[in-house]
Structures are given as C-alpha cells and as structure tokens.
C-alpha cells in the first residue's frame, strides 16, 4: 500500500481544458459532490470541507442540504454542495428529485453547480457508472473520482484511467477518501475549468428524438444545458410522475396541457421509450468496462462479505445477534447518557443557584433562573442521548450493518406498513422520542418516514417513568399475582398500550393522510467496511449541534412562556404576608418553619398564576377523566417536559422538590380531598392519568423536533391535536368505564 500514493501521482489529463462561460465575479464557484449511496461521497465531502458544513433544508422539502467551503491549492474558495446519494436521474425518492432539479437548473434556492465531482466506489464501477453516464449526457462539467481505489487494487481490479477518460470525455482521478489518498490531485483538478463532455452514449430512435426536440424548443432556455442536456430535460419532464413542483413551475402552462398528448404519441410510436435509456446506458457501460477495466476473478471482499453475511443474516443467529445488539444500544442510550445528563442537570442548577445568588430577588432573577437557565438546561439535557444514539447509528450505517438490520426487520415492520428501517428509531424512542425522531433520516421513503415520526412519541419514554412511578407508588397496591406484582403489571401495561396505539395510528395514517401506492422497496446491501471514525464523530457533533440550534430555540422560547404562565400574576397581598412571615421565621432562628412557609408560598403563587387559572379553566374538560384543577395545572406545566408533572404536583401541594417532598407527595396524593371533603384521587384516577400520559402529546421538545424534521408545522400540529384527542378519549373510556364497573 505504501507505494500507492506514488502510483497515484498527478498525471496530465489527456483532455483539453477550456474556459467555460463567464460567471458573475461576486459568486464563488459551486462544486457539487454527487454519487450513489455508499460510494463514500460524504466521506469525501468531509475531507474537502473539514469541520465547517452548514446543514439546512432545500426549500419546502425535508431533504437535507449540506454546504461547505473548500479551499483549493490556488487559494480559490469554492462552495461545496453534498448532494443526496442517488442511483438515477429518474427520481425514485424526494432526495433524488432534488438532485435532478439542481442538475437541470430547476431548483429555486440552489443554482446548478459549475462543476460536479462524481464519486464512484471503484469496486462497483459497473453499476455506479449508470448515474455518471446520465450526468455526463446532461452536459454539466464533470470530474470522475474513482474512490476506494486501494480496495479495488486489493481486489485485483485494474482500471485504465486514460481509457476511461477517453471513453467518458471527462477527467478521471483515483482517490481514497477515507485514507486521504489522491485528494491533492482532486483539488488541483477542481481548480480547472472543465468543459462538458461531448461524448454521447446512446442514440434515441428518431421518433423519440423528434418529440423531445419539439418539446425542448418550447421550454424556457437554460444557458447551462447542452443540446443533449435539453433533450434529457424534455425526457425528464415527460417521464415525471407529476409529484414535482419544480417541473410544474418550469413548464409553461400551454406546454403543460400538451404533455399528455406527447406521452400518448410516444406510447403509440415507440412503446419502450420509458425504459429505453436504461438498456442503452447499460450497453454503453459494458462497452466501457471491456476497454477500461480488468478484474482478477471474484475478489477477497466478496468472499469475506459472504462469510459475514452467512452469520449476520442467518435464519437463527441473524435475528438473535440483531436483538442482542439492539438491547445493547437501547441500554447504552439509557445508561451511558445518564451520567452526562445528571452532570448537565446538576451543573445547570448549580449555575442557576450561583446566578440567583448574584441577582436581586424579583422578576428578573426569576426570569433568568427559572425561565432562561432552566430552558437552556431543558435543551442541553437531550444532547447526551442524541450523541450516544447517533454514534451507534453512524457506526451501523458506516459498517454496512444498518442495511442488514432493515433486511431482517422488514417483514415484521411491513406488517404495520412501515419499512425495516423504522425499527431502530422506534426502539430508541423508548429512551426519548427526540433522538428517535431524528434517527428517522435513515428511512428514504417520505411517507414511511413521516408515519414513523408520528408514532414515535407513543413509545413510553424515560420522562414518563417518574410520572408512572409516583402514581403507581401512591395508588397501585403491591398485590402478588404469581411471580408478578400488580405495580409491575401496571407499568408493563402502560408500555404495551403505547405500542398498540402506535400500531393502530400507523395503520390509520397509511390508509388516510399517508396513503399512496406501496412504493417499490429496493435497498442496497453494501459491502462491509470499517466505519470512518472521523465521519462518525462529525455526524455525532453535527446532529447534536443541529438539535441545539433548531429545536433548542423553540424549547427555550416555550419554557420562558411556561415560566411566565406559572409565575404571574402571583399571590398578591397574601403572598406578601407570607413573605414577611418567612423573614420573621428566619430571623427568629427557625429554618424548618421558614422552609415550610416557603413551600406554602410557592404553592400559593402557582395556584394564583395563569397556569393555576388555566388548570381551573381546564377542569370542566378533564373532570370526566377524573382529573381536577390541580392535575390541570400539572398538565399545563408538563408541556416543558413530562417529568415536570411530578415537581408541579409537589409545588401545588406545598411540598418541596427534594426526595422527602416526593415521598410525601405519594401520601398527599392518596389523601388529597376535593371541595366536598371526598378523596380527590383514586386508583382509577391514577390509571386514567397514566393512560393520558401514554397517549398525549405533552412535550414541547418533541413538537419542536418534528417541526424541524418535517420542515413544516402541518405534522407537529396534526400530532398535537390527534394525540391529545386520542388521550382524552382513552382516559374518558378508562375512567367512566371503571366507574361503571364500580371501581374508584
């Protein structure tokens, strides 16, 4: 391997290099990185742009847009665009549609690139040249990067670069993005003004070509396209399934109407026109491969992959290993993240205490400490789980195991209309729906992905556990049933209820809002590879940062609003009197009494706050579920995070938030009375309330992250309305049904 870089020394490209059309000097050149999924495209992007990529969305869609800056040897800085992994310019997914729109110059927010670096896995050249040939035909300037050249050599694949350059009409450079080989050559290549290739790989039948030419003559001019590119664009428009906005905006209305006529004419004169291209391009590839590539029999990789797959996808060991691995990941998201979460928690409250001690008492201190610092803490607390989960996800993606996991689970998830890739996001939602929803990015079908996002919050997350614990501890007797106890069975039932609700909702969504032809399911099972650790760490950092940036701002804003609702207008004169009694108690050396009075003041303030009024206003709505206004307050404040329910109830009952307070909360809840002196809560109330917590969408962070991941308010709003409605109906049924049966 040591002399590999030497063999890859710069070689003068045989192709003439001409200057392209003049660019406005103000704009830096745009270089797009394009390739098949698993071609090492993103590794190369990371190599070229270093640590500073900007991640956003393409306008109006959920496809992620990654842009970075790359400095070339001459000092020129080019904008580098990491286009989504793509198999074909005839799009099979929203990601691929974006790629097509950008390359044809149809995208509103992304200009067509000045140069495309096309990345292929050199060990899979045959298959991956398909997109390269489509791309070259469109007429954009292309540099072909033969990635993983070291692996190809090791497998005995010899690629004749000159022959390849000659056949394709584009410069070729051999690289290994993960090892950093040949990157200098590529950078030098990126400096030049590469002319579009003039080669043509397929001859369309005259009848087809005539239709395409007549259509392209009626389209708005696109300076950047060659003649063959214009014909390809016309073909793309005719082949489009009509789901595309960019094309609809681009095609003039009078032409729009004629598209159907043109399609029908083609169907009559040349029925194969829709699939002709694939046949022609693969014929051309076979020709190119014969001239440019020699391979030495079945490679090492193929044999070792077969050995690994025999175990990992084995009828019995496959699922077994999968389950063990999932168990380990689930456990890690729970356990590894816990110390970091505790640390964040205690640091934030220490910091809050420190700031509090340096600010004069009053509304400003309260806003800073209980509103802003608490809000920042509420955001930061998710980062450890997100980081741990994305570490595992990108290791699994990078090694090739993710596709095997989906392969094993597809049948199970397919029963509920989801893809095999939905399993891992849903499993991690048991720890927390936030990283789970972010993990749905690995699902390529849009409908499947949104369905998975919509059901992820039904998995009982770790924030619900304290709520279950307090309610079960207070109200569910410790009866033994066989080797199980009633509290244990209750807890299990809550988890189970969430799963059942998720399956039902997925079924409903797939038949209504997310209906649509079952998409063709094709998934590549890539070769096994060592994950690129640099990329793994970059992913972890990028996901954590994105969450802080995009969801964090919403979470912070909502927590300030919640702080305001829970603090104002406050207890007025009565509170003032209490405050003076606290001071008096402190001065007379009675700290126990002072702290009791302080709890009483906190309770009084909360009860007389907007949240308190809100709780009372909610009472008529939640009375049929067995909840009173005090639970109403907790339902409002727990929108900050579900576990806040526990501390709110403690405050409402004048208890401190320390452990003693929480233990006595159980007793308080058991003994609490309503206005007529009757017991306010029973076991039935507790079950009804737990059912409500299983099903309701009560988490602002989830709403914020769904907004970010679906790039619209439509889905988060639908989620809030439907989950809360479902929760109300279920709790109503539980409470009223239970009463009817004489419980409670």
């Amino acid at each position: 391997m040591s002399n590999l870089s030497e063999r890859l020394r710069p070689r003068r490209s045989a192709l003439s290099v001409v200057s392209g059309p003049a660019r406005p000097a103000a704009r830096p050149r745009i270089v797009a990185i394009l390739g098949n999924p698993n071609s090492g495209k993103s590794t190369l992007f990371n190599r070229l742009t270093g640590l500073r990529a900007k991640v956003g969305n393409y306008a109006g869609v959920t496809v992620e847009k990654k842009v970075g800056r790359c400095t070339l040897p001459s000092g020129e800085r080019v904008e580098t665009l990491d286009l989504p992994g793509t198999y074909s310019l005839h799009p099979g997914s929203p990601d691929e549609r974006i790629v097509r729109d950008v390359l044809f110059g149809l995208s509103d927010d992304t200009p067509s690139p000045d140069l495309v670096v096309f990345v292929v896995d050199a060990t899979q050249l045959d298959r991956q040249l398909f997109l390269a040939l489509q791309l070259i035909s469109v007429g954009r300037p292309v540099v072909l990067a033969l990635n993983m050249i070291d692996a190809a050599r090791a497998e005995g694949i010899v690629i004749n670069e000159e022959a390849l350059e000659h056949r394709l009409g584009v410069p070729v450079v051999s690289i290994s993005a993960s090892k950093g080989i040949g990157i200098g050559n590529l950078r030098r290549m990126m400096e030049r003004d590469v002319a579009p290739s003039t080669r043509s790989f397929r001859q369309r039948p005259a009848a087809v070509q005539r239709v395409l030419d007549s259509l392209s003559a009626r389209l708005p001019r696109r300076e950047l396209l060659t003649d063959s590119g214009r014909a390809d664009l016309a073909a793309a428009i005719l082949l489009d399934d009509g789901e595309d906005d960019a094309i609809a905006r681009f095609v003039p209305p009078d032409v729009q109407d004629d598209l159907r006529i043109l399609r029908r004419r083609l169907d009559q004169t040349w029925p194969e026109w829709r699939t002709d291209d694939a046949t022609a391009i693969y014929d051309a590839i076979e020709d190119i491969m014969r001239v440019a590539v020699t391979r030495g029999g079945e490679g090492r990789n193929e044999r070792s992959r077969a050995r690994i797959d025999r175990v990992l996808t084995h009828r019995i060991f496959g699922p077994l290993i999968f389950i063990l691995l999932m168990g380990a990941i689930f456990q890690s998201v729970f356990e590894w993240a816990a110390p970091a979460m505790d640390l964040i928690d205690s640091t934030v409250s220490l910091f809050g205490g420190w700031v509090g001690a340096h600010l004069p008492a009053g509304p400003v201190r309260s806003l800073v400490v209980d509103g802003i610092i608490a809000g920042v803490g509420a955001t930061l607390i998710f980062v450890p789980q997100i980081a741990v989960l994305f570490f595992f996800l990108s290791v699994m993606e990078g090694s090739g195991y993710m596709a095997r996991a989906a392969f094993i689970m597809d049948r199970v998830m397919g029963r509920v209309g989801l893809s095999g890739r939905a399993f891992i996001p849903l499993l991690s939602s048991f720890a927390c729906a936030i990283p789970g929803i972010m993990a749905t990015r690995t699902i390529d079908n849009r409908r499947d992905r949104i369905a998975t996002i919509m059901i992820a919050p039904f998995m009982s997350c770790s924030a619900r556990l304290p709520v279950y614990a307090v309610l079960i501890g207070a109200f569910i007797p410790r009866h033994r049933i066989g080797f199980l106890t009633l509290p244990g069975i209750t807890l299990f039932s809550m988890y189970f209820l969430g799963i059942v609700a998720a399956i039902a909702v997925a079924g409903v969504l797939k038949r209504t809002a997310l209906r649509g032809g079952r998409p063709l399911y094709v998934m590549e099972l890539p070769p096994y590879r060592m994950p690129v650790w640099r990329s793994v760490l970059l992913t972890v950092r990028e996901r954590s940062w994105l969450f802080l940036q995009k969801a964090g701002t919403v979470i912070l804003a909502v927590s300030v609003i919640l702080w305001f609702l829970a603090s104002y207008p406050g207890a007025g004169q009565k509170g003032h009197d209490l405050q003076q009694r606290i001071v008096a108690a402190e001065q007379s050396g009675n700290p126990a009494q002072a702290s009791e009075l302080r709890n009483e003041l906190a309770g009084l303030n909360l009860r007389d706050s907007f949240a308190g009024y809100g709780g009372r206003a909610l009472e008529p709505l939640i009375k049929p579920l067995g909840f009173d206004w005090r639970i109403g307050i907790a339902l409002i404040t727990s929108f900050a995070a579900r576990e806040v329910m526990v501390s709110t109830m403690a405050t409402v009952f004048n208890l401190g938030e320390d452990d003693d307070g929480l233990l006595s909360l159980r007793d308080k809840l058991r003994l609490a009375t309503d206005e007529s002196g009757e017991r306010a809560y029973t076991a039935l109330t507790a079950i009804s309330l737990m059912v409500f917590f299983v099903l309701a969408c009560q988490c602002m962070s989830t709403v914020a992250v769904v907004r970010r991941e679906t790039n619209s308010w439509r889905w988060p709003l639908l989620m809030m309305v439907s989950m809360n409605l479902l929760a109300w109906i279920a709790s109503f049924a539980v409470f009223q049904g239970g009463r009817f049966l004489g419980m409670g």
Partner: protein
C-alpha cells in the same frame, strides 16, 4: 424457453433477466438499478422471516420484496 419468476429461484441459483411485468416508474426503477433484459442475476438468500430477498445484479447486492421480485421474469442458467 424456460420462463420463471425471480422469487422462485433456489438460493445460490443464477438466471438471466427476460422482462419485467407492470409499467411506469417502478419498472424503470428496477431497470435503472440494473435489471435490464439480458443481465445475469443471482439469488443469494431470503431474509430470516422469508421476505425480502437478497439478489446480486452487476456486482451490487440488493434487497427486494418477494412480491416485487415476482414481477421479474428470468431464465435459469
């Protein structure tokens, strides 16, 4: 001619693609991914629960659901 469907191949068996049933985007998709008439495909295995299938076409391993593989006509070799 010995016409057979892709999902009926035995594990390890190789065959040549003849044609794909159906129309529109999904046929084009399969062809774009390499299932062009005349191309050899190899059936590797089915998933532990019987579905989907693992196939190799042009050196790329693909997973395809049984119902979709059934649309591909092949001739065993």
């Amino acid at each position: 001619m010995n016409d057979m469907r892709l999902d009926h191949l035995a594990p390890g068996a190789e065959a040549i693609v003849l044609a794909i049933d159906g129309e529109g985007p999904s046929v084009r998709r399969l062809m774009d991914l390499g299932f062009v008439p005349g191309t050899p495909v190899r059936f590797i295995r089915s998933a532990p629960l019987g579905d989907p299938l693992e196939l190799v076409v042009r050196g790329m391993h693909l997973s395809l659901r049984r119902s979709e593989a059934a649309r591909v006509h092949v001739e065993p070799v």
